[in-house]
Symmetry: C2
């Protein structure tokens, strides 16, 4: 039993890492040879402590006191900087960075497991860290040595923070319409002019300066995404010694006022309006979007993890509440003099807890599974293994982002419902989790975009190889379950669901061929839901197999209860979510044209 | 085409009232004989104007400036009182009250249609009106003539407001645990002592006084709900002339701070702590809950309507936005120099509009259908017709409340998603609709309670007569569709769905008999979802039949487009929602025991 409202269950994190994902095995890669369970656990323990002591306590305060503009400067409650300073001090900006840059050189999997603590504790404050780490990763791959020295290094130390500066007022989902213009300044640098919108962490007093990775179009470049280049744009110009000096021409034009994620500034930026905006080209011209997608893909799996961690925090909170709060009596109990039951004694409340548990714990495992693919893709000595991990990550990324963000909102909704009226008040944290989580289906590519990516591109990519690899992994789990008497029926159900998913995917591609891309994509969101249910069932069954192995090996007491919880989650997913795919598949395979054929004038 | 962001489409309201529900026919009842379409339309026009001019403009302001406590008094932005004064002035507190009490004596159906405007425009301000009307209705049925004169009359005039004072800190869903104690004061009156929680409109400066209808337990009465009596508790004692004088012992102990519905005060009240709390018994002792349920049932259908009207407002807003905002290009469009498409040109956006349209317009029609049953139940000269309306209303009430509140949240979620990042900001109204709407699954009996009411009581009530009547109405619509070439397939689908619903209901009752009430209710929420899908499909098909009749009769231009929209909504519901019932029915009929058997220690 784990009844505290700690936002994450460390037993579960250890289960995911060591009992399902064999994280220790990553130490066989040369890069991680100095690591092992001991160093992993030390990092996790530090993250757990820091998240609970420095991040969680001001989660509500930051929501109630959003960043505000005072005399042209952004003011943020002091706890945010204190938390991020401690995050830097503990080395988490450089959790997976090279030893030689002062990093911990942890596997990406373990770094993500550490970050899970911060996401569950305080997503708004952690976002500054996440944006900086994502920007640093991009610099690490594409920047010149000189740029790395001047920009990457201070970011790894937490002295400079980073952003992704893509969107513009007229170009949110549609990056091809970006208008910010770049021209050479005649001295080897560039001058940018335009306007940026929705830039998270775009202005704040938390770091020495902010390093924007900004998409712009070089004058005369092609229209659309092919004409975009990526620039490094610091908020302050650096002197010879790399110290931030005078302001660069990136001017705060306004703060956006959001429903949630309020601790994170979200900004409208004027580029080169008041004063010249100096920039450095990153890599080659015209490759901006390709570079950015390196960051974006990472960001998408992290969004999925963030969503699941908000679900996790809500689950833990509502579980603790349900175990304490007395209300009503079980159906059929007739004696009004008997003391009221605790909420958890009501079957409908347990249903809402199971929903949350399966999404939160399944989401954590799935997001860590994706993180592990990053390690394999980057470090495995076998090129075939690297390619396989790459393709699998490609097809899983939109699912991790979109499916987990949808389902995690549903989980947070259940957390509120368990609390009744109290859940609707700002005295309990669950309403904030729900509001914070509502961003996740929107940012880093809306879920509609993710669905089109999956149904229009990923299922067919590399001649279907990505889907084949995913199918093989799912089939392996289904086969393993066939050998486990308790889980054989679920193995068969998963196997049938996989067949159906493949059939539906093939049909979608056929529809695209015969009726064009609009027809292929008209029901993309349904296909996303279908694929997500299959993937969650697969992940739940993987966890259940590990749990049943441990039970068979003789786990007892709290340990046995923990493992039985994994079996219960899996049972819930197979009883509740997986059966939904039939109706979805029927409609997709029939090429339902309702949305396509409904004319504008009819609304 | 209706592209303005007026929160409600008056053409649609007229369609629901006159083309589907035959509201004019209500004038054949003696009570409404002075009415007809002309007076109905006049009332609707007044409501539309008032809602848009006096309620809508401060909807956001009231959200941003919630009621606050200043020197022990509640302060509310002045626009709220101005709006409610205008509401009173126009006679809407007495929309359906007797002529002799100064009322308009409108059918309940038409009164609800008027209220729909206010719900869509500003739910937080309207709530004061709704609570007062609901309380007045209860007094109208159960109060003595003297009580009616002193309390009901000023409520109908909008001088006194009302509340439902049921919940207590330890008794939210579980009214049987109410502890507020009543004792005779020796002078024919009563003294109350206790504490009340979640009382909406429990304190405010908007009316001369507040009339609480309060549940309490007379000393020595039975435990549980049988021992509850209902009392009239004014905030101020009335003098001989009925004028509010000294404060009664109902003291504001605190304001609850909610995520939404912020315009409506929600209070913790101390009863009889500081000073004596004088009360009058309403009706007979021990009948409190039965009386309250008169109000509660009405409140439940109004909650369903409120939810649907928030969905409606979000639909209209996101429709207007999608018709203007340009972003991206349709799938397959390759030329990046072409101007971006409007959002509504994307199939996935039309999908999200169809979802909203079917829930908002279907919800409006369903809630008005329920309101019409109230008129038949109260006014039809034929006792059999009255009884039939009563039973049908009994089984529809939990569905209207729970299903519409669930689905309307989903609709508001889609409204946000269509807006992208803008929808997540407080610069657009859709995020507020979503937050406001989140209350609806909680109050007036949580959706879990509604599901248990439906699956545990209503399907079996009067030997299954309520379900039989609902089935007959659904079958009539299915049969009518069989005669319409365009709709015959949907008629057959509805007919099959109805068969399945009845089979599942029978199985539930059987499970209750063999395995007990907990087993019967363990999957009640799934049964609610299933029943809701069937009912929405039925209502959508009813609307489609009316629309197709009009098209066949030669409607052209905008009118034809309007009707085609009804056909499109119906197509969406039959393609998307109705097919979900198979998986639900399978699980319910199998008596799935996942939630029942998951032990507390496993979480």
């Amino acid at each position: 039993m784990s009844r505290t409202a700690a936002p994450l269950n460390e037993r579960d994190l250890a289960f995911a890492l060591y009992e399902v994902l064999e994280a220790e095995d990553l130490a066989r890669y040369p890069r991680f040879r100095e690591h092992g369970r001991e160093t992993f656990d030390a990092a996790l323990a530090t993250a757990a402590k820091l998240a609970q002591e420095k991040f969680a306590p001001h989660n509500r305060k930051a929501d109630l006191n959003e960043p505000k503009l005072v005399d042209g400067r952004v003011e943020i409650i002091p706890e945010v900087k204190q938390a991020l300073d401690a995050f830097a001090e503990a080395g988490f900006f450089a959790a997976h960075a090279d030893f030689e840059r002062g990093g911990m050189q942890l596997p990406w999997t373990v770094a993500q497991a550490c970050y899970a603590w911060f996401q569950a504790a305080n997503i708004g404050t952690f976002a500054y860290g996440f944006l900086t780490v994502a920007a640093a990763n991009l610099l690490d791959v594409f920047a010149s040595d000189d740029q790395k020295r001047r920009f990457l290094q201070p970011m790894l130390e937490g002295r400079f923070f980073g952003t992704m500066a893509l969107s513009e007022p007229q170009a949110g989902s549609s990056l091809g319409d970006i208008r910010t213009l770049a021209e050479e300044d005649g001295a080897g640098g560039w001058l940018l002019k335009g306007s940026k919108m929705w830039i998270s962490g775009g202005e704040h007093p938390l770091s020495e300066t902010i390093v924007h990775l900004m998409l712009a179009r070089i004058r005369g470049a092609a229209p659309g995404v092919k004409g975009l280049s990526l620039f490094i744009v610091p908020n302050h110009l650096l002197d010879e010694a790399g110290r931030p000096g005078a302001r660069n021409g990136v001017t705060l034009a306004g703060l956006n006022h959001k429903m949630g994620y309020r601790g994170t500034t979200n900004t409208v930026l004027d580029i080169g309006g008041d004063r010249p905006c100096r920039a450095e080209l990153l890599g080659e011209p015209g490759k901006g979007l390709a570079y950015m997608f390196h960051m974006m893909n990472e960001a998408r799996t992290i969004v999925g993890m963030s969503a699941a961690m908000l679900a996790y925090a809500g689950y833990r909170q509502s579980l603790a509440y349900a175990a304490e709060r007395r209300q009503g009596r079980p159906a059929g109990a007739k004696n009004p003099d008997a003391p009221p039951a605790r909420l958890i004694e009501h079957a409908d409340v347990r249903r809402m807890l199971l929903l949350q548990k399966s999404v939160a714990e399944g989401g954590l495992l799935l997001a860590l599974y994706a993180a592990r693919l990053v390690d394999v893709k980057n470090e495995d000595p076998d090129p075939a293994a690297r390619e396989e991990a790459h393709l699998l990550l490609e097809i899983l990324t939109p699912i991790v982002k979109a499916y987990l963000s949808e389902r995690s909102l549903e989980a947070n909704d259940a957390a509120i419902q368990i609390h009744g009226g109290y859940g609707y008040t700002r005295d309990f944290p669950v309403e904030q989790y729900w509001r914070d989580n509502r961003l996740n289906p929107i940012h880093e590519g809306t879920n509609g975009i993710q669905a089109m990516d999956l149904a229009g591109r990923k299922i067919a990519m590399a001649d279907g190889a990505a889907l084949d690899i995913l199918s093989r992994r799912i089939a392996e789990t289904a086969e393993a379950a066939a050998g486990d008497a308790d889980l054989a029926a679920d193995g068969a159900a998963l196997s049938a669901a996989l067949d159906r998913l493949r059939r539906t995917a093939a049909r979608l591609i056929e529809i695209g061929r015969t009726d064009g891309p609009e027809a292929q994509l008209a029901n993309a969101s349904d296909f996303m839901e279908m694929a997500g249910h299959v993937v969650l069932a697969w992940i739940s069954l993987k966890a259940a197999l590990a749990a049943n192995r441990a039970l068979t090996a003789g786990a007892t007491g709290d340990e046995a209860d923990f493992y039985r919880g994994k079996l219960a989650s899996r049972r819930y997913v197979f009883a509740t979510d997986l059966p939904k795919i039939a109706a979805l598949a029927d409609r997709i395979e029939a090429g339902d044209r309702t949305a396509l054929e409904t004319q504008e004038a009819w609304f």
